[in-house]
């Protein structure tokens, strides 16, 4: 079997070449496939990210530390940081947060800044460009600068950054979180801009939604009376946040009057930032007159996109000057929602207008100047460099007016078609502000006066603050820097030429909607309208429907001798007031003669349903699908007739129209729509969930999920069998849900319980990554260990991290 030597040689070279090409191919990222050689290598790849339960003990020396820090991790992996001074405290917070959430902070910061293309390639360019157009980096820079201007917050951020970077510095590439290995990139050091980007990220989630474009179009295209029915100035059945009997004894700042006759142009593109109705929250507090113990109680449950790693990170911060516990946002020092030794606070989104869209008139096609107050003013150009993986960097130049960035047209290639107009946004988040100083102050306040003083700095991310303290006080405030507006300003596209539409004045802090120790013994907010019509300022128009707010208020009104358990049950309350109103109306309109036996048994169950979206309920599943189909039947023919962007009325408004017999607004016969949608839903159910209605289960079939923030397959949790609905206090939708639930009792000893759907560890290879999802789903709360000293409850210390100052 002699093979000629020359053949042998070529075969040899060929095979070695195959091996080398294979090696090369396995060392680079191909499409979405990570470099498999590196990735599967057990010495450095994903295998190195597998961890055992718990947090290992660790001792780290750093020359930046001043006195040294001890961090006690409790049995749930919550770090309790005991430091001697602010710098060491926030250094340790940056260190422990990076230890658990390094990749999350890195990725979310890049996402906020419009830098995803540099990780995944040109398919993210549209996303990145939209972020730059919205001025995310511009706003982050302004906020970072403001935070670095104050010595307290500058120290906080620098310490947090130093701690975060100290964690990165002692990592070898094989220690990087697994997502870095999957996406094949490296962590970058933390800078003050990262804290600015986090604020912008939260602002984008909470305050960037605008309906100005949809409302402008609707007002232009619809008959005036129809418009009023579909988009009433006050939503039906609303019980406002501030009790309606509140008196307003101050002289309001007068808004300017706009020039009459402005008719905004229709915009053909979709808005960059349409309102997301899934974002919302509840928070309430009762005073001692309503509780069994005689001590105030407070709860807070912010509803946000629930993802893994979790948006929240639990932490206790302790120095001789401060002792606070609660949830922090990775990338921000301090505790955002929580309590200290004197009081507790909760937060819900305010929902008043803080982003206005302006129609801009450019002087000529070069778009170097725009008209404002009768004068041609210069446009400022800000070039944005977007780096692209395996590609040339893209430069996108964003135009800025004094209002803010020109977001539309979103693409320069269509700018000529739109001439002479463009659209700019003015957004509170772009203005320099120091929300972090507010956090710094309310973490360490010792009285209601100090808490109030802290809120003055909470300017840019407008929120409702619930408060309760050990002295027995409760309060509610609609907090932030709200422009003084004329009626309706900001609800529609604003006139960029008219200075009356500028934000010339802001509502003074003393004039904000507030309620202190109200007669009724409780305060609450659920994103509904903050006030009734007699409040002298116009703040906005598009708040949440009545359902959650009314349910909370009636429950609290009726209850007395309230306990923390009662609050926990309230947080898990699945009752939908929408269903309670709508379902009897729907059932009445079915024609019993037309129903099959199987359909009859479904309607019988629906009639006996208690309107609770419990996981095992089949009626909840059926009602929800029926209602959604009905809304499509009612509104699709109406809105499909227009080829520009409009939005449906809120569900509450639609139910009101149905119940009030305003049926002429619908282009279809309501009874027929009810019957058809019922039949279609029934067919869909039998085809998808089987013939036996007993097998249809809300929790099993609703498809609630806690997804991974980079949407990696297998890294989230699908089919979470949760109860709840956005219409109930337990506002668990498909992807948005209560992201943290907390109940605090303000007695001589503060007692608190809480949970969130995720875990402290952000590592998908750690069993703690999603460990709390099941307890969150079925309403099991954890005791929060709030220690007054480093020695208290040593039996709950699972492990220790020691940060030692370096002494040569």
């Amino acid at each position: 079997m002699d093979i000629p030597r020359i053949t042998r040689f070529y075969r040899s070279i060929l095979l070695i070449a195959v091996a080398l090409i294979l090696t090369w191919a396995m060392s680079i990222r191909l499409g979405t496939i990570p470099p498999v050689g590196h990735f599967f290598n057990p010495f450095a790849g994903f295998w190195q990210n597998m961890e055992a339960a718990g947090v290992p003990d660790l001792e780290i020396t750093s020359e930046e530390l001043q006195s040294g820090v001890v961090v006690r991790y409790d049995d749930r992996g919550v770090p309790h940081i005991f430091a001697e001074n602010d710098y060491d405290l926030y250094f340790a917070q940056g260190f422990v947060t990076a230890r658990d959430r390094l990749w999350q902070i890195d990725f979310q910061s890049r996402a906020a800044a419009g830098r995803i293309s540099e990780i995944i390639g040109p398919q993210a360019l549209d996303y990145d460009r939209a972020q730059r157009r919205l001025g995310m980096v511009y706003g982050a820079e302004a906020n970072a600068e403001a935070m670095m201007d104050d010595p307290r917050t500058a120290n906080m951020i620098q310490a947090y950054a130093d701690g975060y970077n100290a964690w990165i510095d002692q990592l070898a590439p094989e220690d990087y979180p697994v997502e870095f290995k999957i996406l094949d990139y490296e962590p970058e050091p933390f800078t003050p801009l990262h804290s600015g980007l986090l604020l912008m990220n939260m602002s984008q989630t909470l305050t960037s939604g605008t309906r100005a474009q949809a409302q402008t179009h609707a007002r232009a295209l619809l008959d005036e009376e129809i418009y009023r029915l579909l988009y009433p100035e006050e939503l039906p059945w609303i019980d406002p946040i501030i009790p309606p009997d509140q008196a307003w004894d101050f002289k309001p700042v007068e808004p300017p009057s706009p020039e009459p006759g402005f008719v905004p142009q229709i915009i053909e593109e979709l808005p960059l930032n349409a309102h997301n109705p899934g974002i919302g929250s509840n928070s309430w507090a009762v005073d001692g007159s309503k509780t069994e113990s005689g001590y105030p109680l407070l709860s807070s449950d912010p509803h946000l996109g629930v993802n893994l790693p979790s948006i929240w990170y639990e932490v206790q911060l302790h120095t001789p000057e401060v002792n606070t516990y609660g949830v922090s946002l990775p990338a921000a020092p301090g505790v955002v929602i929580g309590f200290n030794e004197f009081y507790a606070w909760g937060i819900t989104n305010a929902g008043s207008h803080t982003l206005d869209v302006y129609e801009i008139q450019f002087r000529d096609e070069t778009r170097q100047e725009y008209l404002h107050d009768g004068v041609w003013k210069p446009v400022v150009r800000r070039p944005e460099e977007i780096r692209v993986r395996r590609g040339e960097p893209v430069i996108d130049t964003v135009l800025y007016t004094h209002h803010g960035p020109v977001t539309q047209p979103h693409d320069e290639t269509i700018a000529d078609d739109r001439f002479p107009n463009g659209h700019a946004v003015q957004w509170l988040a772009h203005q320099p502000g120091n929300v972090l100083l507010s956090v710094y102050k309310y973490n360490r306040g010792t009285s209601q006066e100090e808490f109030e003083e802290a809120l003055r700095h909470f300017t840019n991310i407008t929120q409702n603050f619930t408060y309760a303290d050990r002295d027995g006080n409760i309060s509610m405030g609609h907090i932030g820097r709200f422009p003084v507006r004329f009626e309706g300003q900001g609800a529609y596209i604003s006139n960029g030429r008219d200075p009356a539409y500028d934000w010339n004045h802001f509502v003074p802090f003393e004039h904000l909607p507030r309620s202190f120790n109200p007669e009724r013994g409780f305060v609450s907010s659920a994103n509904q309208a903050p006030v009734t019509g007699d409040y002298p300022y116009y703040l906005g128009r598009f708040y949440a429907d009545f359902s959650r707010g009314v349910r909370i208020n009636t429950t609290l009104e009726e209850a007395d001798r309230i306990t923390p358990d009662f609050f926990e049950n309230m947080l898990m309350d699945n009752l939908s007031l929408f269903a309670e109103k709508l379902l009897p109306f729907l059932l009445e309109r079915l024609d019993p003669g037309q129903l099959s036996d199987a359909q009859e048994s479904v309607t019988k169950q629906l009639r006996n349903w208690n309107y609770r979206f419990a996981p095992q309920s089949n009626s909840a599943l059926f009602y929800k699908a029926w209602k959604e189909r009905l809304l499509d039947h009612l509104w699709d023919p109406f809105f499909n007739a227009f080829n520009v962007y409009l939005r449906r009325p809120t569900t509450g408004t639609t139910i009101h129209l149905l119940l009030e017999e305003e049926h002429e607004v619908f282009p279809v016969d309501v009874n027929q729509a009810v019957r058809e949608s019922f039949g279609e839903t029934f067919t869909h159910f039998t085809q998808n969930y089987g013939d036996d209605p007993g097998q249809w289960q809300y929790g099993r079939h609703r498809d609630m999920r806690v997804g991974h923030i980079a949407m990696l397959d297998g890294f989230g949790r699908d089919h979470v069998p949760a109860g709840g609905t956005p219409e109930a206090i337990n506002a668990t939708g498909t992807t948005h849900a209560p992201s943290w639930r907390m109940v605090v009792e303000l007695g001589p000893e503060i007692r608190a319980r809480g949970h969130y759907p995720g875990g402290q560890s952000g590592n998908p290879g750690h069993p703690g990554y999603d460990v709390s999802i099941d307890d969150w789903t079925d309403g099991t709360f954890y005791d929060l260990h709030f220690w007054k000293s480093i020695e208290e409850n040593p039996e709950h210390t699972a492990s220790t991290l020691t940060l030692v100052p370096f002494t040569p």
Binding site: F9, R11, S12, A19, L20, P42, N49, P767, Y769
Partner: protein, 121 residues
């Protein structure tokens, strides 16, 4: 054809590949196993396919043992996630892929390198 100056046993070759890969991988990236494969093919006087099998089994076993050790001393919650990410039909396939990723390029390189030398009679 002269007789080779050194005849090494299969076991010796296996152990040499296994331990050199173990030690060098502590400091070098994964592709060092391919370099080791080439070296094994050049220095070993065994039949080319024999070298292929020895290198494949040495690297494959090394990666399997390390991966198994990590799994036994830690939580295995990551494995179904990796399996899901790569759409593998079963979680145990993560081990198969791991073995193939390390062993295949190294052993192909060893086979090619073996054929560089003149054939023995």
């Amino acid at each position: 054809m002269t007789r080779d100056p050194v005849r090494i046993s299969s076991l010796f070759l296996f152990l040499a590949v296994f331990f050199s890969a173990f030690l060098l991988q502590l400091i070098l990236p994964w592709w060092i196993v391919v370099v080791i494969g080439i070296a094994a093919g050049v220095f070993s006087q065994k039949q080319p396919w024999h070298n292929f099998l020895i290198v494949f089994s040495a690297i494959g076993l090394l990666w399997l043992l390390i991966a198994s050790y990590i799994t036994l001393t830690n939580s295995a919650v990551l494995l179904p996630r990796i399996s899901g990410l790569f759409q593998l039909p079963a979680v145990w396939m993560v081990y198969v892929v791991t073995i193939l990723v390390g062993a295949l390029p190294a052993s192909i390189a060893a086979l090619g390198a073996s054929w560089l030398k003149p054939e023995r009679s």
